[in-house]
Protein backbone atom coordinates (compact mmCIF):
# COMPACT_ATOMS: atom_id res chain seq x y z
CA UNK A 1 0.00 0.00 0.00
CA UNK A 2 1.21 3.49 -0.75
CA UNK A 3 1.00 6.42 1.66
CA UNK A 4 -2.38 8.04 1.35
CA UNK A 5 -3.14 11.59 2.38
CA UNK A 6 -5.24 11.91 5.48
CA UNK A 7 -8.00 14.43 5.61
CA UNK A 8 -7.46 17.68 7.55
CA UNK A 9 -4.18 16.58 9.02
CA UNK A 10 -0.94 18.53 9.09
CA UNK A 11 0.94 15.33 9.84
CA UNK A 12 -0.85 13.82 6.84
CA UNK A 13 0.82 16.41 4.61
CA UNK A 14 4.27 15.76 6.02
CA UNK A 15 3.93 11.97 5.77
CA UNK A 16 2.76 12.50 2.17
CA UNK A 17 5.82 14.66 1.47
CA UNK A 18 8.01 12.03 3.14
CA UNK A 19 6.55 9.21 1.03
CA UNK A 20 6.96 11.31 -2.13
CA UNK A 21 10.59 12.20 -1.37
CA UNK A 22 11.34 8.58 -0.50
CA UNK A 23 10.04 7.41 -3.88
CA UNK A 24 11.68 10.36 -5.69
CA UNK A 25 15.10 9.63 -4.20
CA UNK A 26 15.23 6.15 -5.73
CA UNK A 27 14.18 7.46 -9.13
CA UNK A 28 16.78 5.46 -11.06
CA UNK A 29 15.37 2.14 -9.97
CA UNK A 30 11.77 3.37 -9.69
CA UNK A 31 9.91 2.13 -12.78
CA UNK A 32 6.66 3.63 -11.52
CA UNK A 33 7.80 7.17 -12.35
CA UNK A 34 6.52 7.95 -15.83
CA UNK A 35 8.65 9.92 -18.28
CA UNK A 36 5.48 10.55 -20.29
CA UNK A 37 3.76 12.19 -17.29
CA UNK A 38 6.92 14.26 -16.61
CA UNK A 39 7.09 15.36 -20.25
CA UNK A 40 3.41 16.30 -20.39
CA UNK A 41 3.72 18.24 -17.13
CA UNK A 42 6.72 20.21 -18.44
CA UNK A 43 4.79 20.89 -21.63
CA UNK A 44 1.73 22.14 -19.75
CA UNK A 45 3.45 24.02 -16.91
CA UNK A 46 6.36 25.32 -18.96
CA UNK A 47 5.77 25.55 -22.68
CA UNK A 48 2.07 26.47 -22.57
CA UNK A 49 2.73 29.20 -19.99
CA UNK A 50 5.29 30.97 -22.19
CA UNK A 51 2.91 33.52 -23.77
CA UNK A 52 1.65 34.72 -20.38
CA UNK A 53 5.15 34.72 -18.87
CA UNK A 54 6.50 36.62 -21.90
CA UNK A 55 3.83 39.29 -21.58
CA UNK A 56 4.35 39.65 -17.83
CA UNK A 57 8.14 39.71 -18.09
CA UNK A 58 8.18 42.28 -20.90
CA UNK A 59 5.73 44.49 -19.06
CA UNK A 60 7.46 44.19 -15.69
CA UNK A 61 10.94 44.72 -17.11
CA UNK A 62 9.70 47.72 -19.03
CA UNK A 63 7.78 49.21 -16.13
CA UNK A 64 10.72 48.88 -13.76
CA UNK A 65 12.95 50.71 -16.24
CA UNK A 66 10.23 53.29 -16.85
CA UNK A 67 9.61 54.01 -13.18
CA UNK A 68 13.30 53.70 -12.26
CA UNK A 69 14.41 56.09 -14.98
CA UNK A 70 11.71 58.60 -14.02
CA UNK A 71 12.78 58.47 -10.40
CA UNK A 72 16.54 58.28 -10.68
CA UNK A 73 17.25 60.69 -13.53
CA UNK A 74 15.76 63.43 -11.33
CA UNK A 75 18.73 62.85 -9.02
CA UNK A 76 21.22 62.35 -11.85
CA UNK A 77 21.56 58.66 -10.96
CA UNK A 78 20.23 57.09 -14.18
CA UNK A 79 22.88 54.36 -14.25
CA UNK A 80 21.39 52.78 -11.10
CA UNK A 81 18.27 51.81 -12.96
CA UNK A 82 20.03 48.55 -13.88
CA UNK A 83 20.60 47.83 -10.21
CA UNK A 84 16.88 48.16 -9.69
CA UNK A 85 16.27 45.78 -12.60
CA UNK A 86 18.58 43.19 -11.06
CA UNK A 87 17.34 43.63 -7.49
CA UNK A 88 13.64 43.87 -8.16
CA UNK A 89 13.16 41.66 -11.19
CA UNK A 90 15.92 39.05 -11.11
CA UNK A 91 15.97 38.67 -7.33
CA UNK A 92 12.32 38.93 -6.47
CA UNK A 93 9.66 39.50 -9.09
CA UNK A 94 10.68 36.84 -11.59
CA UNK A 95 10.36 34.05 -9.02
CA UNK A 96 7.23 35.34 -7.32
CA UNK A 97 5.33 36.23 -10.49
CA UNK A 98 6.28 32.99 -12.22
CA UNK A 99 5.20 31.09 -9.11
CA UNK A 100 1.84 32.89 -9.11
CA UNK A 101 1.33 32.02 -12.76
CA UNK A 102 2.25 28.38 -12.07
CA UNK A 103 -0.10 28.27 -9.07
CA UNK A 104 -2.94 29.75 -11.13
CA UNK A 105 -2.43 27.47 -14.12
CA UNK A 106 -0.76 24.27 -12.97
CA UNK A 107 -1.51 24.14 -9.24
CA UNK A 108 -5.23 24.37 -9.88
CA UNK A 109 -5.02 21.94 -12.79
CA UNK A 110 -3.06 19.34 -10.81
CA UNK A 111 -5.31 19.55 -7.78
CA UNK A 112 -8.48 19.36 -9.87
CA UNK A 113 -7.21 16.55 -12.07
CA UNK A 114 -6.04 14.36 -9.19
CA UNK A 115 -9.22 15.11 -7.21
CA UNK A 116 -11.38 14.03 -10.13
CA UNK A 117 -9.22 10.95 -10.66
CA UNK A 118 -9.79 10.03 -7.04
CA UNK A 119 -13.56 10.45 -7.33
CA UNK A 120 -13.67 8.41 -10.55
CA UNK A 121 -11.56 5.68 -8.87
CA UNK A 122 -8.82 6.06 -11.47
CA UNK A 123 -6.24 6.06 -8.67
CA UNK A 124 -7.63 2.74 -7.42
CA UNK A 125 -7.26 1.45 -10.97
CA UNK A 126 -3.58 2.44 -11.10
CA UNK A 127 -3.02 0.86 -7.70
CA UNK A 128 -4.78 -2.35 -8.81
CA UNK A 129 -2.13 -2.69 -11.54
CA UNK A 130 0.50 -2.63 -8.79
CA UNK A 131 1.70 0.81 -9.93
CA UNK A 132 2.41 3.24 -7.10
CA UNK A 133 0.11 6.28 -7.48
CA UNK A 134 2.63 8.34 -5.50
CA UNK A 135 5.40 7.62 -8.01
CA UNK A 136 3.30 7.59 -11.16
CA UNK A 137 1.10 10.61 -10.43
CA UNK A 138 2.84 12.66 -7.74
CA UNK A 139 6.62 12.22 -8.21
CA UNK A 140 6.27 12.58 -11.98
CA UNK A 141 4.30 15.81 -11.60
CA UNK A 142 6.65 17.20 -8.95
CA UNK A 143 9.64 16.65 -11.25
CA UNK A 144 7.76 18.17 -14.19
CA UNK A 145 6.70 21.29 -12.26
CA UNK A 146 10.17 21.85 -10.73
CA UNK A 147 11.93 21.55 -14.10
CA UNK A 148 9.35 23.82 -15.77
CA UNK A 149 9.58 26.34 -12.92
CA UNK A 150 13.38 26.64 -13.20
CA UNK A 151 13.16 27.14 -16.96
CA UNK A 152 10.30 29.64 -16.67
CA UNK A 153 12.13 31.78 -14.09
CA UNK A 154 15.23 31.86 -16.29
CA UNK A 155 13.08 32.74 -19.28
CA UNK A 156 11.25 35.44 -17.29
CA UNK A 157 14.59 37.06 -16.40
CA UNK A 158 15.80 37.05 -20.00
CA UNK A 159 12.57 38.53 -21.35
CA UNK A 160 12.37 41.10 -18.52
CA UNK A 161 15.88 42.31 -19.31
CA UNK A 162 14.95 42.51 -22.97
CA UNK A 163 11.80 44.44 -22.02
CA UNK A 164 13.90 46.75 -19.89
CA UNK A 165 16.18 47.48 -22.81
CA UNK A 166 13.26 48.07 -25.19
CA UNK A 167 11.65 50.55 -22.81
CA UNK A 168 14.95 52.27 -22.06
CA UNK A 169 15.03 53.17 -25.76
CA UNK A 170 12.19 55.58 -25.05
CA UNK A 171 14.40 57.74 -22.85
CA UNK A 172 17.85 57.41 -24.30
CA UNK A 173 19.21 55.61 -27.33
CA UNK A 174 21.21 53.04 -25.42
CA UNK A 175 22.57 50.27 -27.62
CA UNK A 176 21.94 46.72 -26.49
CA UNK A 177 25.60 45.95 -25.79
CA UNK A 178 25.99 48.94 -23.45
CA UNK A 179 22.74 48.15 -21.71
CA UNK A 180 23.77 44.53 -21.18
CA UNK A 181 27.23 45.55 -20.08
CA UNK A 182 25.73 47.84 -17.42
CA UNK A 183 23.27 45.14 -16.42
CA UNK A 184 25.91 42.40 -16.15
CA UNK A 185 28.20 44.68 -14.13
CA UNK A 186 25.66 44.67 -11.30
CA UNK A 187 24.50 41.08 -11.73
CA UNK A 188 26.31 38.66 -9.41
CA UNK A 189 26.48 34.89 -9.35
CA UNK A 190 24.71 34.98 -5.98
CA UNK A 191 21.66 36.54 -7.68
CA UNK A 192 21.47 33.64 -10.10
CA UNK A 193 22.05 31.06 -7.36
CA UNK A 194 19.31 32.61 -5.22
CA UNK A 195 16.98 32.69 -8.23
CA UNK A 196 17.69 29.04 -8.95
CA UNK A 197 17.15 27.97 -5.34
CA UNK A 198 13.93 29.94 -5.16
CA UNK A 199 12.57 28.48 -8.37
CA UNK A 200 13.30 24.92 -7.18
CA UNK A 201 11.67 25.63 -3.80
CA UNK A 202 8.63 27.28 -5.36
CA UNK A 203 8.22 24.40 -7.80
CA UNK A 204 8.44 21.88 -4.97
CA UNK A 205 5.97 23.81 -2.81
CA UNK A 206 3.39 24.30 -5.55
CA UNK A 207 3.53 20.73 -6.82
CA UNK A 208 3.55 19.11 -3.37
CA UNK A 209 0.68 21.22 -2.02
CA UNK A 210 -1.41 20.74 -5.18
CA UNK A 211 -0.87 16.99 -5.43
CA UNK A 212 -1.54 16.55 -1.71
CA UNK A 213 -4.85 18.37 -1.89
CA UNK A 214 -5.84 16.57 -5.09
CA UNK A 215 -5.07 13.18 -3.55
CA UNK A 216 -6.91 14.18 -0.35
CA UNK A 217 -10.28 14.19 -2.11
CA UNK A 218 -12.15 11.15 -0.87
CA UNK A 219 -15.62 10.47 -2.25
CA UNK A 220 -17.51 13.45 -3.65
CA UNK A 221 -16.84 15.70 -6.61
CA UNK A 222 -17.92 18.66 -4.44
CA UNK A 223 -14.67 18.22 -2.52
CA UNK A 224 -12.63 18.97 -5.65
CA UNK A 225 -13.13 22.76 -5.84
CA UNK A 226 -12.79 23.05 -2.06
CA UNK A 227 -9.47 21.25 -2.15
CA UNK A 228 -8.31 23.27 -5.15
CA UNK A 229 -9.03 26.57 -3.38
CA UNK A 230 -7.07 25.34 -0.35
CA UNK A 231 -4.19 24.29 -2.59
CA UNK A 232 -4.05 27.75 -4.20
CA UNK A 233 -4.25 29.71 -0.94
CA UNK A 234 -1.68 27.54 0.86
CA UNK A 235 0.66 27.55 -2.15
CA UNK A 236 0.65 31.37 -2.35
CA UNK A 237 1.28 31.72 1.40
CA UNK A 238 4.04 29.11 1.34
CA UNK A 239 5.72 30.56 -1.74
CA UNK A 240 5.87 34.07 -0.27
CA UNK A 241 7.03 32.84 3.14
CA UNK A 242 9.77 30.70 1.58
CA UNK A 243 10.80 33.64 -0.61
CA UNK A 244 11.20 35.82 2.47
CA UNK A 245 13.15 33.06 4.22
CA UNK A 246 15.54 32.46 1.31
CA UNK A 247 16.09 36.21 0.80
CA UNK A 248 16.78 36.59 4.51
CA UNK A 249 19.24 33.68 4.47
CA UNK A 250 21.14 35.16 1.53
CA UNK A 251 21.15 38.55 3.24
CA UNK A 252 22.67 36.96 6.35
CA UNK A 253 25.25 35.05 4.30
CA UNK A 254 26.27 38.25 2.51
Amino acid sequence: MTAKPEKKSGSGFFSFVGATLEEALRIRSNRHVSSMVIFRQILFTGYEALPLISFLALAIGGLVILQGTNLLTGFGQGIWVHVILVTVVVNELSGILTALVVVARSGTAISTELGNMKVRREIDLIESFGISPISYLVVSRVIGVVVAMVILVLYFNLVAVLGGWLFSQIFNQLDFRTFMSDFLSVLKISHLVAGFIKSVCFGLIISMVSTYHGMSVRYASTEVPQRTIKAVVISIFAVILSDMLITWLFWILK
Binding site: R31, M117, E122, D124, L125, S128, G130, I131
Partner: protein
Protein backbone atom coordinates in the same frame (compact mmCIF):
# COMPACT_ATOMS: atom_id res chain seq x y z
CA UNK B 1 -4.90 -21.11 -5.15
CA UNK B 2 -6.76 -20.78 -1.87
CA UNK B 3 -7.54 -17.35 -0.39
CA UNK B 4 -8.36 -17.15 3.29
CA UNK B 5 -9.78 -14.11 5.08
CA UNK B 6 -8.91 -14.54 8.74
CA UNK B 7 -10.83 -12.15 11.01
CA UNK B 8 -10.29 -9.18 8.70
CA UNK B 9 -11.41 -5.68 9.66
CA UNK B 10 -10.69 -2.96 7.14
CA UNK B 11 -11.14 0.64 6.04
CA UNK B 12 -13.64 -0.40 3.36
CA UNK B 13 -15.98 -1.85 5.97
CA UNK B 14 -15.01 -5.48 6.58
CA UNK B 15 -15.53 -6.30 10.24
CA UNK B 16 -14.00 -9.42 11.78
CA UNK B 17 -14.64 -11.14 8.46
CA UNK B 18 -13.55 -14.73 7.78
CA UNK B 19 -13.99 -16.69 4.55
CA UNK B 20 -12.24 -19.38 2.53
CA UNK B 21 -12.20 -19.02 -1.26
CA UNK B 22 -11.04 -21.59 -3.79
CA UNK B 23 -9.54 -19.58 -6.65
CA UNK B 24 -8.93 -22.56 -8.93
CA UNK B 25 -12.43 -22.54 -10.35
CA UNK B 26 -15.28 -20.19 -11.18
CA UNK B 27 -16.89 -18.85 -8.01
CA UNK B 28 -19.76 -16.45 -7.71
CA UNK B 29 -20.02 -14.21 -4.67
CA UNK B 30 -23.75 -13.72 -4.28
CA UNK B 31 -24.18 -10.50 -2.34
CA UNK B 32 -27.56 -8.75 -2.47
CA UNK B 33 -26.07 -5.56 -0.93
CA UNK B 34 -23.14 -5.61 -3.43
CA UNK B 35 -21.00 -3.73 -0.88
CA UNK B 36 -19.50 -6.70 0.92
CA UNK B 37 -18.46 -8.47 -2.28
CA UNK B 38 -16.72 -5.33 -3.56
CA UNK B 39 -14.94 -4.92 -0.23
CA UNK B 40 -13.70 -8.53 -0.52
CA UNK B 41 -12.32 -7.97 -4.01
CA UNK B 42 -10.78 -4.62 -3.01
CA UNK B 43 -9.04 -6.26 -0.06
CA UNK B 44 -7.71 -9.10 -2.22
CA UNK B 45 -5.93 -6.76 -4.65
CA UNK B 46 -4.52 -4.60 -1.87
CA UNK B 47 -6.77 -1.58 -2.41
CA UNK B 48 -8.13 -1.76 1.13
CA UNK B 49 -6.32 -1.01 4.35
CA UNK B 50 -6.49 -3.85 6.86
CA UNK B 51 -6.90 -2.76 10.47
CA UNK B 52 -6.75 -6.26 11.89
CA UNK B 53 -6.75 -9.87 10.75
CA UNK B 54 -4.97 -11.15 7.65
CA UNK B 55 -5.62 -12.39 4.14
CA UNK B 56 -3.61 -15.40 2.98
CA UNK B 57 -3.05 -16.69 -0.54
CA UNK B 58 -1.87 -20.31 -0.27
CA UNK B 59 -0.79 -19.43 3.28
CA UNK B 60 1.21 -16.40 2.10
CA UNK B 61 0.10 -13.14 3.79
CA UNK B 62 -1.35 -10.47 1.46
CA UNK B 63 1.55 -8.00 1.61
CA UNK B 64 4.09 -10.73 0.85
CA UNK B 65 1.88 -12.03 -1.93
CA UNK B 66 1.67 -8.53 -3.46
CA UNK B 67 5.39 -7.87 -3.04
CA UNK B 68 6.32 -11.19 -4.66
CA UNK B 69 6.16 -10.37 -8.37
CA UNK B 70 3.65 -8.30 -10.32
CA UNK B 71 0.30 -8.65 -8.62
CA UNK B 72 -1.76 -8.15 -11.80
CA UNK B 73 -0.22 -11.26 -13.31
CA UNK B 74 -1.80 -13.16 -10.43
CA UNK B 75 -5.08 -11.32 -9.79
CA UNK B 76 -6.60 -9.31 -12.63
CA UNK B 77 -9.26 -7.01 -11.23
CA UNK B 78 -12.09 -5.84 -13.50
CA UNK B 79 -13.89 -2.89 -11.92
CA UNK B 80 -17.67 -2.68 -12.00
CA UNK B 81 -17.43 0.62 -13.88
CA UNK B 82 -15.31 0.71 -17.02
CA UNK B 83 -12.68 2.84 -15.35
CA UNK B 84 -10.13 4.31 -17.75
CA UNK B 85 -7.60 7.08 -17.19
CA UNK B 86 -9.38 9.98 -18.84
CA UNK B 87 -6.20 11.84 -19.82
CA UNK B 88 -4.90 8.89 -21.86
CA UNK B 89 -6.15 7.48 -25.15
CA UNK B 90 -7.79 4.05 -25.15
CA UNK B 91 -4.61 2.55 -26.56
CA UNK B 92 -2.48 4.19 -23.87
CA UNK B 93 -4.92 2.88 -21.29
CA UNK B 94 -4.56 -0.67 -22.58
CA UNK B 95 -0.79 -0.37 -22.79
CA UNK B 96 -0.20 1.22 -19.37
CA UNK B 97 -0.09 -1.99 -17.27
CA UNK B 98 1.64 -3.90 -20.08
CA UNK B 99 4.40 -1.31 -20.45
CA UNK B 100 4.87 -1.30 -16.72
CA UNK B 101 5.22 -5.08 -16.68
CA UNK B 102 7.51 -5.12 -19.70
CA UNK B 103 9.06 -1.86 -20.99
CA UNK B 104 10.38 -3.70 -24.09
CA UNK B 105 7.18 -5.40 -25.13
CA UNK B 106 6.45 -6.46 -28.68
CA UNK B 107 4.02 -3.74 -29.83
CA UNK B 108 2.97 -5.61 -33.00
CA UNK B 109 2.07 -8.74 -31.06
CA UNK B 110 0.14 -6.69 -28.51
CA UNK B 111 -1.70 -4.80 -31.26
CA UNK B 112 -2.85 -8.07 -32.83
CA UNK B 113 -3.85 -9.37 -29.41
CA UNK B 114 -5.89 -6.21 -28.78
CA UNK B 115 -7.65 -6.57 -32.11
CA UNK B 116 -8.42 -10.21 -31.43
CA UNK B 117 -9.98 -9.47 -28.02
CA UNK B 118 -11.90 -6.51 -29.42
CA UNK B 119 -13.36 -8.79 -32.09
CA UNK B 120 -14.39 -11.27 -29.40
CA UNK B 121 -16.21 -8.49 -27.58
CA UNK B 122 -17.63 -7.17 -30.89
CA UNK B 123 -16.01 -3.78 -30.29
CA UNK B 124 -15.11 -1.46 -33.12
CA UNK B 125 -13.48 1.56 -31.49
CA UNK B 126 -10.81 4.04 -32.50
CA UNK B 127 -8.08 3.36 -29.95
CA UNK B 128 -6.50 6.77 -30.47
CA UNK B 129 -9.54 8.48 -28.98
CA UNK B 130 -9.94 9.32 -25.32
CA UNK B 131 -12.37 7.26 -23.20
CA UNK B 132 -14.86 10.14 -23.08
CA UNK B 133 -15.70 9.44 -26.74
CA UNK B 134 -17.36 6.12 -25.87
CA UNK B 135 -20.29 5.05 -23.74
CA UNK B 136 -19.81 3.34 -20.37
CA UNK B 137 -20.76 -0.14 -21.63
CA UNK B 138 -18.05 -0.04 -24.30
CA UNK B 139 -15.51 1.18 -21.77
CA UNK B 140 -16.51 -1.59 -19.40
CA UNK B 141 -15.83 -4.19 -22.11
CA UNK B 142 -12.51 -2.46 -22.85
CA UNK B 143 -11.75 -2.92 -19.15
CA UNK B 144 -12.13 -6.66 -19.71
CA UNK B 145 -9.82 -6.44 -22.74
CA UNK B 146 -7.21 -4.61 -20.66
CA UNK B 147 -7.28 -7.28 -17.96
CA UNK B 148 -7.25 -10.17 -20.45
CA UNK B 149 -4.18 -8.75 -22.22
CA UNK B 150 -2.26 -9.21 -18.98
CA UNK B 151 -3.28 -12.89 -18.83
CA UNK B 152 -3.79 -13.02 -15.06
CA UNK B 153 -3.96 -16.36 -13.25
CA UNK B 154 -7.31 -15.44 -11.70
CA UNK B 155 -9.82 -12.81 -12.79
CA UNK B 156 -11.68 -10.90 -10.09
CA UNK B 157 -14.79 -9.46 -11.69
CA UNK B 158 -16.91 -6.91 -9.87
CA UNK B 159 -20.54 -6.89 -11.06
CA UNK B 160 -19.90 -7.98 -14.68
CA UNK B 161 -23.26 -6.84 -16.05
CA UNK B 162 -23.18 -3.35 -14.52
CA UNK B 163 -23.47 -0.63 -17.21
CA UNK B 164 -23.98 -3.15 -20.01
CA UNK B 165 -27.01 -3.26 -22.31
CA UNK B 166 -28.78 -6.46 -23.32
CA UNK B 167 -26.56 -7.11 -26.35
CA UNK B 168 -23.33 -6.36 -24.50
CA UNK B 169 -24.39 -8.72 -21.71
CA UNK B 170 -24.83 -11.56 -24.18
CA UNK B 171 -21.44 -10.86 -25.75
CA UNK B 172 -19.71 -10.73 -22.38
CA UNK B 173 -21.35 -13.92 -21.19
CA UNK B 174 -20.26 -15.69 -24.39
CA UNK B 175 -16.62 -14.57 -23.93
CA UNK B 176 -16.55 -15.46 -20.23
CA UNK B 177 -18.09 -18.83 -21.01
CA UNK B 178 -15.19 -19.55 -23.37
CA UNK B 179 -12.70 -18.32 -20.80
CA UNK B 180 -14.07 -20.27 -17.85
CA UNK B 181 -12.28 -23.44 -18.95
CA UNK B 182 -8.85 -21.80 -18.88
CA UNK B 183 -9.10 -18.89 -16.47
CA UNK B 184 -10.44 -19.20 -12.92
CA UNK B 185 -12.75 -16.37 -11.95
CA UNK B 186 -14.18 -14.84 -8.81
CA UNK B 187 -17.33 -13.02 -9.80
CA UNK B 188 -19.17 -10.61 -7.51
CA UNK B 189 -22.70 -10.60 -8.87
CA UNK B 190 -26.33 -11.19 -8.04
CA UNK B 191 -27.26 -12.01 -11.64
CA UNK B 192 -28.73 -15.47 -12.22
CA UNK B 193 -26.69 -15.92 -15.42
CA UNK B 194 -23.60 -16.54 -13.28
CA UNK B 195 -25.32 -18.54 -10.58
CA UNK B 196 -27.13 -21.10 -12.71
CA UNK B 197 -24.99 -23.29 -14.95
CA UNK B 198 -21.97 -20.99 -15.00
CA UNK B 199 -20.22 -20.84 -11.64
CA UNK B 200 -18.74 -24.00 -10.15
CA UNK B 201 -19.55 -22.66 -6.72
CA UNK B 202 -21.89 -19.97 -5.43
CA UNK B 203 -21.12 -18.38 -2.08
CA UNK B 204 -24.08 -16.62 -0.54
CA UNK B 205 -22.75 -13.66 1.42
CA UNK B 206 -26.11 -12.80 3.03
CA UNK B 207 -25.18 -14.42 6.37
CA UNK B 208 -22.02 -12.28 6.46
CA UNK B 209 -23.80 -8.93 6.23
CA UNK B 210 -23.19 -8.40 9.95
CA UNK B 211 -19.47 -8.51 9.07
CA UNK B 212 -19.76 -5.41 6.97
CA UNK B 213 -20.23 -1.82 8.06
CA UNK B 214 -21.16 0.79 5.49
CA UNK B 215 -18.86 3.79 5.61
Amino acid sequence: MIAIFDGVSSREGLSDFSLRLNLDKVTQLYDPSENLSRAILYAMVGLDELHSGEIYFDQVPLQEFIADGPQIRKLGYVFDEGIMLSNLSLKENLMLPLRWLNPHLDEARIASSIQSWMQSFELDLDLNKRPVAYHPGQLKLMGFVRTLLIEPKVMLIDDPFFLLNKIERKVLLKVLDQLRKTCPMLIASIDDEFGVGFADEVIDLSPFETNFKLL
